[in-house]
């Protein structure tokens, strides 16, 4: 009896394996610490805009996908080391990154905003001089701060965006520079804080990173982004997180 169960189990797996061998298999990484784009729920499951987009793209491509979490500053090195095949983690398309990896077309666009406590003396970027300003290391916000404000403000770089928020609530940081939408999301839950100053528009486009010389996967994903844009799936996911179109 036991034997037959084992054998039939093997058979069942065998059938599943052959059935899926036809489709594409994509291993996807995200960070898991960048709400609302990618984060973990109470059970440790990855959720968020990026995760939903990744799942929608997989469905569109009829691909079999696994999604794993990877710390941000190792996310490109591990892609190059073939730990996974694509990074859907709100990654900005930058020249420096393009030397190492390829990007699909954008799946949303981004700009930067400063955030600070309501009623603080900080009303514009000029008021930040001599203050502690935080951002996540290895992000366009962190690099923009270092390139444009170094010497004028004290730049504090964090491994995780959530750590920067923690230091703003404890008062270590006078302001944060961040991608606008995650900050928008955080401000909703922390009404004591607000956007300050002007938008920092750096013409930032967010794409999916894949290894170079994997044009097939890149083009498939680019195509799938277009398709979910057209068939309304994208709009549905977008509406779940933001009341405005972020494409």
């Amino acid at each position: 009896m036991f034997k037959t169960t084992v054998i039939s189990l093997f058979l069942a797996f065998g059938i599943v394996a052959t059935a899926s061998a036809g489709g594409m298999k994509i291993r996807i990484a995200t960070e898991g610490a960048y709400p609302p784009f990618n984060m973990k729920d109470a059970s440790g499951e990855l959720i968020g805009f990026d995760v939903d987009i990744a799942k929608a793209l997989c469905e569109q491509l009829k691909a079999e996908c696994t999604i794993v979490a990877q710390d941000w500053d190792g996310i490109i090195p591990a892609l190059l080391a073939k730990k996974y095949d694509a990074v859907v983690a709100s990654m900005s398309i930058t020249e420096e990154r393009m030397k190492k990896v390829d990007f699909t077309g954008r799946y949303y666009s981004n700009y930067l905003r400063f955030g600070a406590k309501k009623g603080s003396a900080i009303k514009s970027a000029d008021d930040l001089i001599g203050k502690n300003v935080g951002a996540q290391r290895a992000t366009v916000a962190g690099q923009w701060l270092e390139d444009n404000m170094a010497g004028k403000v004290r730049v504090k770089l964090y491994d995780k965006q959530t750590a920067a928020y923690a230091d703003m609530t404890s008062g270590r940081l006078d302001a944060i520079l961040s991608d606008a939408y995650p900050l928008f999301d955080w401000l909703k839950e922390n009404p004591d804080y607000e956007y300050v100053g002007e938008k920092v528009d750096i013409n930032d486009q967010i794409g999916i990173a894949v290894r170079k010389n994997e044009a097939e996967l890149r083009d498939a994903l680019s195509g799938a982004i277009k398709s979910i844009r057209e068939n309304g799936t994208y709009a549905k996911i977008n509406a779940k997180y933001f009341p405005f179109d972020i494409y």
């Binding site: 001599g130 962190g142 504090k156 230091d167």
Partner: protein, 253 residues
Amino acid sequence: MMLGFDISYFEAKYRASEAVCQIIGPATPQGFADYCPRFVQGTFTTVEILVLCCLIGLVVAVPMALARVSSNKWLSVPAYVYIYVFRGTPLLVQLFLFYYGLGQFEVLRESFLWPVLRDGWWMGVIVLSINTSAYVAEILRGGIKGVPEGQVEAGRAAGMSGMLLYRRIILPQAFRIAWPAYGNEVILMLKASALTSAITVMDLMGQTRTIFSRSYDLEIFVYAAVLYFVMAFMLTYLFRLVERRLKRHIAYP
């Protein structure tokens, strides 16, 4: 005032590293030369933290070791608990607990201590000092126990007691016995200081990770490793030099 001091200090550090790089830059590989001032600045910060935490750690460790070997329970038990708590938990956990944990308390945020506690650099120095003091206290305890009983008895016979006995007989020999183990601890601290990069300190590791986050060239970590190695090598040499002097009475000619 604090801030003014900080900024001019940072500026001074920045200028110094620029100057160093103008001298050594041309002789180094391109990948290093591109980011040379950052590497040098990070190295300065690492040395700064190491020197400070080893000094503070040593100052705390001596009374702690004395308390630990004391026959008075009111002294030895607290010292024992201190040493075992800080030796028994990971340094990274201590850093996070102190840095993010203390920041939660409104009382502390409004106290005069906050300018120090809000700064990652100071928190790094404080936590590393506490951590190393626990290890050094234990190393010193070993040194104190290693002083031959006969010497203590001879000291007593000569009429010394208490502090005088410690100052003249026990501690000098305990330091000599503990010296090699202490050198080891300092080198471990050099490497442990890299953890402070997790609480926004721009030490050598912090700078390296920031540089790496732009270039994604793994060679960046090779340069950091070389810099750490050079520092460790110099420390080893220094400690051996002192050790030779401390042990010259038993050295072969």
